[in-house]
Symmetry: C2
Subunit: 730 residues, 2 copies
Amino acid sequence: MSNGGGVMSSTTHLLDFLEEPIPGVGTYDDFHTIDWVREKCKDRERHRKINAKKKESAWEFTKSLYDAWSGWLVVTLTGLASGALAGLIDIAADWLNDIKEGVCLNAMWFNHEQCCWGSNETTFAERDKCPQWKSWAGLILGQEEGPGSYIMNYFMYIYWALSFAFLAVLLVKVFAPYACGSGIPEIKTILSGFIIRGYLGKWTLLIKTVTLVLAVASGLSLGKEGPLVHVACCCGNIFSYLFPKYSKNEAKKREVLSAASAAGVSVAFGAPIGGVLFSLEEVSYYFPLKTLWRSFFAALVAAFVLRSINPFGNSRLVLFYVEYHTPWRKSTRFGKYPILEVIFVAAITAVVAFPNPYTRQNTSELIKELFTDCGPLESSQLCQYRSQMNGSKAFVDASPNKPAGPGVYAAIWQLCLALIFKIIMTIFTFGLKVPAGLFIPSMAIGAIAGRIVGIAVEQLAYYHHDWLVFREWCEVGTDCITPGLYAMVGAAACLGGVTRMTVSLVVIVFELTGGLEYIVPLMAAVMTSKWVGDAFGREGIYESHIRLNGYPFLDAKEEFTHTTLAREVMRPRRSDPPLAVLTQDDLTVEELQGIINETSYNGFPVIVSKESQRLVGFALRRDITIAIENARRKQEGILLTSRVYFTQHAPTLPADSPRPLKLRSILDMSPFTVTDHTPMEIVVDIFRKLGLRQCLVTHNGRLLGIITKKDILRHMAQMANQDPDNIMFN
Amino acid sequence: MSNGGGVMSSTTHLLDFLEEPIPGVGTYDDFHTIDWVREKCKDRERHRKINAKKKESAWEFTKSLYDAWSGWLVVTLTGLASGALAGLIDIAADWLNDIKEGVCLNAMWFNHEQCCWGSNETTFAERDKCPQWKSWAGLILGQEEGPGSYIMNYFMYIYWALSFAFLAVLLVKVFAPYACGSGIPEIKTILSGFIIRGYLGKWTLLIKTVTLVLAVASGLSLGKEGPLVHVACCCGNIFSYLFPKYSKNEAKKREVLSAASAAGVSVAFGAPIGGVLFSLEEVSYYFPLKTLWRSFFAALVAAFVLRSINPFGNSRLVLFYVEYHTPWRKSTRFGKYPILEVIFVAAITAVVAFPNPYTRQNTSELIKELFTDCGPLESSQLCQYRSQMNGSKAFVDASPNKPAGPGVYAAIWQLCLALIFKIIMTIFTFGLKVPAGLFIPSMAIGAIAGRIVGIAVEQLAYYHHDWLVFREWCEVGTDCITPGLYAMVGAAACLGGVTRMTVSLVVIVFELTGGLEYIVPLMAAVMTSKWVGDAFGREGIYESHIRLNGYPFLDAKEEFTHTTLAREVMRPRRSDPPLAVLTQDDLTVEELQGIINETSYNGFPVIVSKESQRLVGFALRRDITIAIENARRKQEGILLTSRVYFTQHAPTLPADSPRPLKLRSILDMSPFTVTDHTPMEIVVDIFRKLGLRQCLVTHNGRLLGIITKKDILRHMAQMANQDPDNIMFN
C-alpha cells in the first residue's frame, strides 16, 4: 500500500523507488476536503502494483483476485446488512408503536396484527379486534369501552409517546450526537469529499438504529426513510474497513457509500431502481458507471434480503413505509435544551394526535388508505357514499361516482384538521435532535390535500356533470374521478416540491404503488411542483440545510453566471502580503518551519526562484510537517540548518554544511494551474468536475496566486449577496 | 450573438468592446471536434448580454423571456414531432407488413386487424379471419386453401419483401446515405462533440422515416427502435434551428439532442423513464441535471402524443414494438454492392421465414406470444398441454404445471429452428445499408431461448418433482414454473449482453411489460449477462462500432490504467521538428501565413518570446485564417509586411512600417495546461470531464509541447495493442 505522495507517486516511483514512503503522508485531517485527483491516482498506483505482482506466486494471484472482487463483495455485504437492519427496524418499530395502545396477552412480542392472526374469534370485518389483544384500559381498568377507558388509553398513549421520545433524545445526546436528523445533507457533503470522522461509525450506527425505532414509535411527525439511508451508509463505511482498497482511499470509500445510499433507499421504499436514481440524482457527487452497476447490485441485494425477512408478512416490499427527514442545526432558543424540546413537541403531538383517527394512525397506513380507491370491500369512512343502486352489490363494484354520504363529510373535516396539524408539527419536528425523516410526513401532507381536492372534484362532477370540463368524459353513472389518484399525485407533488427530485421521485412512487400506468400524471405533477418551487428559490431542502450548516459543498446544480476572472478571486488580494511560496533548493529546515508556523495555509507552491517565479510544484503543509519530523527522528545529520531541496539532485553546498533534506517525494509535480485571465465560470467547472482542493494561478508562465475551494465558495456567496463567512470548514 | 473568440470573450468584452466580432470565428469544420469549454463560455456570455439588456425595453424583455423558455419550447416541439412520427411509422409499417399477405377489399388503407374489426361474421376465436380480408391467393386464384394458393401466397410474400427491401436500399443509396443503420453509434459520437454535417438533417429525416417503414415491412430481421432514436434526434436538430440559443452553439445543441434521444426511446418502447435512463447511461456525454429534466419532459410529451395517436387502438403504449440496430460500415466484399446485398439477404429471409409460423409472424408479436403465460383463453400452440383435470375448465384457470401435449413439442422444434434462423439472419442484417435496429431481434432471440428453457424446466419439474431443486416449492398440481417469465428474463439478458446496458434496460423492460414484480430476476439476469459479456470483452455493440468506424470517441466507461506521463504522449516527440509556435509581437502577416501554410495543425500556442518560452495563449488555425482575410479585406493598410501582435498594446515599430494587425480578440488567453510530469490517467480524465480538444504541456513554467484528443486516442490504441492509425478523424 503506497502512501507516498499521491499525484506524483507514479513519477517518484520511477525516480526514488529506493525511498521508503513516509507513514501518514497522504492522509487527511478531520473537517478537511479530500483531493479527488490524488486519491484516484493513489488507487491506480495500488492497482498496478497488485497487477505487477500477481504472476509472482499463487498467493499473490489469490490476493489480486480478492482485490478485484472486493468491490462486489463490499456492496454485497452492505446490501445484506442494510436489508437485515431495515427489516429489524420495521418489525421493532411496528411492535413498539402498538405498545402505545395495548399489549398482546399471549405473546408480548406480537404486535396488534400478529396477535389477532391466531385468533379464531376474529371476523374479516373486525380483523383488528380480538380478545388476546388488550388495550391499556382493558388491562388496567378491566373495561374496553366507555369514557373512563378512553381517558385511560389517551393517558397511556401520551405516557408511552413521551417515554420513547425521552429515551431517544437521551441516547442521541449522550452516546452519538451524529445520530440525530436524517443525515442526508451530511452524507451529500461527505460524498462531495468532506471528512467528518465518526459520522458513519459503529456507535452512530448502533444508536441511530435504536433511537430510530423509538422516535418512530413515539408518534412524532417524522419518517424513518431518510435515517435508513444514513444507517445503510454506516454499514457501507464499516464494511469498507475490511478491504484495504476502500479503507485506505477516501475516493474509493465514497464509491461504496454511493452504493450504500442506493441500498438505503431501496429498503426504505422497497424501490431498488428508485434507490439507484436517488443516489445518482440527489446524493452522489462522483458517480462513474462502475458505481452505477455496484449501486444497482447493492440495491438488489438489500431489497431481496428485506423481502426474505418479510417484515409485514405480505410478501411484498414495504409499500408505504415511506419517510425521510432533514436536520436543522441552527439553534433556536429552545435548541439549547434538546431534551426538553423533544418532550415538548412529543407531548403536543401525542395530545393532539390521539382524538383524530387520521392523525392517530400510523402515517404510512394513512397514506395507504388515502391512495386506495373505494371498492365494495372497503370499510373506510372515506368510502361511505350514498349508494344509488338500491344497495345492489353488483353495481358497487363498477364504482361509478356517487354523492358523498355523512361519513365522507366527517372524513373531510377530520382530514382538513389533520392537514393543518401535520403541516405545523412536521415543521417543528424536523429540528429535533432525534433521528427523523421528512419523506413520509411530506407525502402524507400531499396525500391529504390531494384526497380532499379529489373528493371535491368528484362531487362537483357528480352534481354538475353538464359543466364544460366534465361534459366530455363524465357521464352520469360512470367513474370519471378517482380521488385515490389525486392523493397519489398530491403526495408526489408535495415531496417533489420539498426535495426537488424529479426522475428518481417518479420512479420511487411508481415502484411504491405499482402504478406504472400513472407515469404521465405523476411526471406532470412532479415537473409542475419543481417549477413552482423553483420560482420561490432554487434550493431543495437538503441544499438549504447544507448551506445553513455551512458545509463546504460545491453544488453541481447551481450555475455560476458571473463574469469575474480568476485574478479577482485568487489570493493574495492587492492589499494582502505576498503569497507564501517555497523555493526549490535554497531554504533551510529552520526557514521552512518558520514559514509553516507563521502561516495557516494548507499548502505552499514551490517555485524555481523568487526572481523567475516559475512554478515547480505544490507541497501540502501536513506532508511537510510529517516529513520533517520523520527525517529528524530517523535520518542522522538533519539539523535546523540543513538545506531543504525539492529538486532531483542535491544543490551544491559548502563543504561544512550539514546533510541536506530531500523532500521531492512529497512534492506534487503536477499541480493544476489556470491563467489569471480564466473566467471564474471555467474555474468553478474545473473544481466541480475534477474535485480539486486548490488551483494555482499563473500569468505568462509566472506564478501569481492560488484559489482554494473555500475561496470559490466565499466568492459565490458574495456574488449571491450572502454572508461569505458562513462557509465554516476548510 | 457573440462570435468573438470563445473562452476569452468575457475578457475581450471588457478590453476590446469596440471591436466588431469577426464573422466565422468560433465555428467548426465538418468532421472536427468541438471545444466544450469554449462553447459553454460563449453561451454564458450570450446569456449575460440578454440579461443586461432586458431592462432596456419591453421588446428586449420579451426577447429575454423567449430565450429563457426556448429550452423547454424546443424539447416540447421535439417531443411532439417524435411522438407523431413514431405513430405514423407504426401505422404505416403495420399496414405495409400486412400487404405482403393480402389486402383489405373494403378499404385498401386498413391493415388486417382493422379490416376485420368491422366484420360481423368474425368470432372471437377466429378474429383473424373475415371475408373482407383477401389473401393474394384468394384475390388472384380465387381460392384461400390448398397447395396452389399456399405457393401463390409464398410467392407474393417474397415478391413484396424483395420490392420493399429494394426500394428502401435504393432510396438510402441515392438520397441520404446517412439514413442507413440505427444511427446510435454516430449519435453517441456526435453527442461527445464530433461534427458530422447532414447526419441529423431534414433529408436524412425524410428518407429514414420512409425507408424505415419499408425495411420493417420487408420482413428483414431488424427492428425500428434504434432508427427511431435517430429520427427523434433529427427532429431535435431541425427544431434547434428555430432558436439562436441552440443553433449557434454546438454544446447547447447537444443538450437538445440528449433530450431528443430520450424522446426517441420513449416512443420506441413506450418507456419514458427508460428513455431518460438510456440517454443518460448509454448515449450522452455531457448530461447536466438541467438536461435530465428536459429529457424527462421531452420523453413525457412524446409518450403522450403517441398515446393520443394510439396506433394500435389499445390505449396502451406500444408494448413490444421493440427494436434497435447498429450499422457496420467496414465493407465486406459484398458491401460494395449494397443493393444486391440487401436483395440477397431479404430473399433468404423471406424464403426461409415464410414456412415457420414463428419466423413469419411479426417479431414483436412473437415476443408478446412468448412472454404470455398460458391461460384458459390462450389458443397458442405453445399452450397445448394435456389437461389432467378431465377438461374441467375451472381448474385450468389456476394453471398448474401440466405435461406437454403434441402442440408444445411441435412448437419447441419450430422455436429451435426459429432461434437458429434468427441468430444467423440478424448477424447478417446488421450490416445492410437500410435503417435497421437490433433491439427487437436480440430480444426475440433471448425470448425464444428463454421460453425453450422454461418449458424444459417445467417438464422436468412435472416429471421429477421429487428432485431436490424442485421439492421445496414444486408440489404436484401447483404452478411453480412460468415459462413466460423465462422468456422475459431471457430477452432482457440477451439484450443486456449485446448492448451492456443495465439500469436503463431493466427500466425499459418493466415499462414495456408492466412487470414491476419481476425486477429482482430481471436485475439478476442483466447483471449476470453483463458479467459474462465482460469476460469476453468490455465493449458493447455501440462502442465496437464506434471503434470499427474510427470515430474520435473518448469513452467514459473505459479506464486508463497505464503509467505513462504527459511528456511521453505530447508532441513534438524527440525526433520531431520543434513545436510550431507564434511569438506574441514580432511576426509579420507573411511569416504568420507561412507558418500556417507549412503546417497542418489546428492551432498554435502563442508565447512571449522564443527565449523565455513562457506561454501567453492559444490561437486556432481557422480563426487566424479568417481574421487575416477579414482584415485584409476590410482594414486599410494591412500588408504582408504588417506586424501581427497578440498583446494588449501595439509594439513600438519603426516609423515607416505599415499598420500593425491586432489579433488579441482571437487569442484564447486561458488555455489548459498540464505539467510534463502529469500522469496520463489525469490528462485523460481532464479531457473526458471537461471535453477539451487540446492541452498544452509545460515544465517549470516553460512551454514544452501539446497533447490533442487524437494524440490521446492514438496513445490509448497503442497501449491496447491496437492499430493507432485506426482513429480517422480529428
